[in-house]
Symmetry: C2
Subunit: 193 residues, 2 copies
């Protein structure tokens, strides 16, 4: 039986966006489930439609896909953040991308199908997730700027500044494809310092 204590971090995260009534909290708790995922396991495989919103309680995860047979990382998320394949969740189409856990992790899944139904009953929940995804949208716009108009070296240094923990916890090959360069290029950049 899900109890809110189990989802303390998640609800603390929610509170930063929009506070919701007790009734809404209780309805929301019912959609949550806590799972343990071993290192390197796919949380969601390629080809499936995204129907769950994931929150990382402990651990680290990435979104990746294959481009011409090569593994490409699109996104990283660690503790106290949400990870979601937006292009599938919001279109209902199967995703060419997968979510993989990079350490033994504890993940909270929120049933998105049930969540979207809850929007009719609780506008405050709709508002909460509207704000969450508006913020994600802004981050994505900023990421475009970072990718498009900064050199590989600048992007590496920005990541080093923004998320030093990710550099520590994730194989460099994933970092390289995330930065849009080869592992060889990344090695060269690292050697310069």
């Amino acid at each position: 039986m899900p109890s809110q204590a189990q989802f303390e971090n998640l609800f603390h995260y929610f509170k930063k966006f929009n506070s919701i009534s007790k009734a809404a909290e209780e309805a929301l708790v019912k959609l949550c489930s806590h799972i343990k995922v071993p290192k390197n396991k796919d949380l969601q495989p390629i080809g499936y439609t995204c129907k769950t919103i994931y929150f990382i309680d402990k651990g680290i995860a990435r979104i990746y896909y294959y481009r011409e047979g090569i593994d490409v990382t699109e996104f990283f998320a660690s503790e106290n953040s949400i990870i979601v394949r937006a292009e599938s969740l919001f279109t209902g189409k199967p995703s060419r991308k997968a979510i993989q856990v990079l350490e033994d992790s504890e993940i909270i899944g929120v049933d998105a199908v049930a969540l979207f139904k809850l929007y009719d009953q609780f506008p405050e929940i709709e508002r909460l997730f509207r704000k969450i995804f508006e913020t994600a949208y802004v981050e994505t716009v900023n990421r475009i700027e970072s990718i498009q108009f900064h050199s590989a070296k600048e992007r590496y240094e920005a990541l080093l500044l923004d998320s030093p923990d990710i550099l520590q916890r994730v194989p460099l090959k994933h970092i390289a494809s995330y930065l849009g360069i080869t592992q060889v290029s990344l090695s060269r950049i690292r050697a310069q310092r």
Copy 2:
């Protein structure tokens, strides 16, 4: 006095996302204004907080900013689409980016401050804009994929396929910076075909 007939295209656009009640439509119309903007004029200049959502009735516009003194285009929009500096609208912070019209254009502005207030009264309006920006978010996620994992030539050809009209209507220097390359590179790519 704003009448809905003036905003026919905009409300047709809205309908594709979420249909709203007559009362909501009437409240929404009051926030709209139709303006004519001459070619090359900044609709919103750099340094101001984005407080208006723009819909392009006729014409074409771009979001741009300066990176190390160089004019960089981040986004294009033409007829029947919305253009907005999300990173300012959703954070309330001043934007380093401007919106400029590239032809004599007719633009509908929606007062965003009043709109956000209307959300409390009309959850259906909140839902409408939630869906609009979810779609914009998905497009932005797809754009990252396009920028990061395709060569300049592939990106040019994708643009040629997706938005041939933009190629016709916009100076190539803007296309080049939008694609993340120099004008010289773009010329070389075009010469290859």
